[in-house]
């Protein structure tokens, strides 16, 4: 099978700091891949390079067989790479409905049907449990709900690759269970790249895990392999299992 996403020797410097340092990475269609690693390891930078929010210093990114290294972000989104922000970034003054309508109308090609937008929006809100808050301005949602809205917006883009940057941050434990269900469902139609610090979530969801450290890939493998990896324990998990 051909990988959906490949990066070759991808690197990004900030001044003297090599935040991402020559990463070779492959992602197969349909998998749920978790990326973990210490704070500051370069995970967000890495996915930002993939989504096109920032430009690489060197290296190459191939998506679905095509070199997208120099494409602007919006074109990558149109090809199916969706990104939800680690630091919440919703349209604070627009209603939750409008927040989701934006990605929905982007994906609709027939142009006309208002009904299609509405159905699409409500479906996405439904799935994230925000349907009854559709008309609240996003800025007035609690932090946790804003996180869910982020996911709803990502969902609504009907992506082929959905990148979730710490989606459970700020979610109550009670909501996390629902969230895991949601991700599983999304995974049926999309490939997922998930950055997470919440190990139980990672362990439950991921098919494979990639561990970053200091801008490089430290290890890669199934959850069991990673859990057993002593290097990973030292660098990341600390004493806690």
């Amino acid at each position: 099978m051909m990988p959906l996403l490949t990066t070759k020797n991808l690197a990004r410097n900030f001044g003297g700091l090599r935040a991402v340092d020559g990463v070779d990475f492959q992602l197969m269609p349909g998998e749920i891949r978790a990326v973990i690693g210490p704070n500051g390891a370069g995970k967000t930078t890495f996915v930002s390079l993939i989504s096109g929010r920032i430009q690489p210093s060197s290296g190459m990114i191939v998506f679905d067989g095509a070199d997208i290294t120099s494409q602007p972000a919006y074109l990558r989104v149109r090809q199916g790479i969706a990104y939800t922000f680690q630091i919440t970034s919703v349209f604070a003054n627009l209603s939750a409905y409008d927040n989701v309508a934006l990605p929905v109308q982007r994906t609709l090609t027939d142009g006309r049907s208002k009904g299609a937008v509405r159905t699409g929006v409500m479906a996405a809100l439904e799935r994230t449990g925000l349907a009854d808050r559709a008309h609240m301005p996003a800025g007035q949602l609690s932090y946790g709900h804003q996180r869910l809205l982020e996911v709803a917006m990502g969902l609504a883009l009907k992506p082929r690759l959905l990148i979730l940057d710490e989606p459970t941050q700020g979610l109550a434990d009670s909501e996390i269970d629902n969230f895991i269900e949601l991700v599983r469902e999304i995974a049926k139609s999309a490939t997922l790249l998930l950055i997470e610090h919440n190990m139980p979530v990672v362990m439950q969801l991921a098919d494979r895990i990639t561990v970053f450290n200091a801008g490089r890939i430290l290890a890669e493998g199934t959850p069991e392999q990673i859990r057993a990896n002593t290097q990973v324990q030292e660098a990341y998990l600390g004493t806690a299992p």
Binding site: S51, R53, P72, A73, Y74, L75, V77, R78, A82, Y83, F85, S89, V90, F91, A92, N93, L94, S95, Y97, D98, A101, L102, P103, Q105, R106, K114, V117, R118, H135, M153, L157
Partner: protein, 320 residues
Amino acid sequence: MSEASPAKAYALHLGVIALLFALSFVLPDYHHGLLARIMVLAVFAMGYNMLFGYVGLLSLGHAMFFAAGLYGAGLAVIHLGWNVPLAFLAGIACGALLALVIGLLALRTTGVAFMIVTMMFAQVFYLVILYFAAWTGGDQGLVVPQPARVLSFGATSLDLTNPTVRYMSALALFSIVLLITLAIVRSRYGRVLVAVRENEERTKMLGYDTFSNKLIAVVVSGTICAASGAAYALLFGYVGSSFASVQYSILPLLWVLLGGAATTLGGLIGTVFMYYVIDIASGYTSAYLLIVGIALILLVLFFPKGILGTIRQRWLGWLP
């Protein structure tokens, strides 16, 4: 913005247009003439609002688009002897072209830098008008001859210097632009514009080419302002550089803020307010600027989002 109550919104706008039409028959001469002028300038405000209110781009250079329409139309009549419709189109075309060029350059910047860059381009435009005084009349400006300001269709002709014709022409332009604005605002494109205003980075990450969207908005906005300028030249018969000066860039901003940014009718309300405050205050005292200043401050204290903006926020959430 949302899908709710389109009927109400359209009814309101058609109502406003009908009211303005009816006013034509009851207003005393002076207010009749003043309102014609206000409607033309309200179009300027609406064009400005398109960019400032909905896309969140604060330009301090929109006088150049107004002036492009003003001179485009005026000079076409004066130097080329074009007829009114052609001259009007020439004015609009000048504005659109200018807006395209300015947009391509200025949109490389955002926020305050955009504000300053547009102001400086407008200053250049103003100086260019002065520099080519031989054609533009420099700071004194030029008069569009009265006989040329006649719109003729075969046998019938409409004299734009006639108050009723002038009022109705202004109303027609105003109505068309108002309805276009409403349609844009309620469209999906309108939603994208607002999204750019609220969070451009995020909009990009939803797959929108924000630069092109903004560029289109600059051109639409510039074209509407140019239409206002062209109408001003043809209806009121004077083209002059003061309309390209920085005051005329600040005025539409003020009108829009008074009426309510990102409200379709805010431009009209703000323009009417400002005109009548000055008109009434200057009737009472020669120090009327003092009153105008106080009125502005009081208004903004009680209506911090402009008249319609605050009304929408407090009472009528459905206002477009």
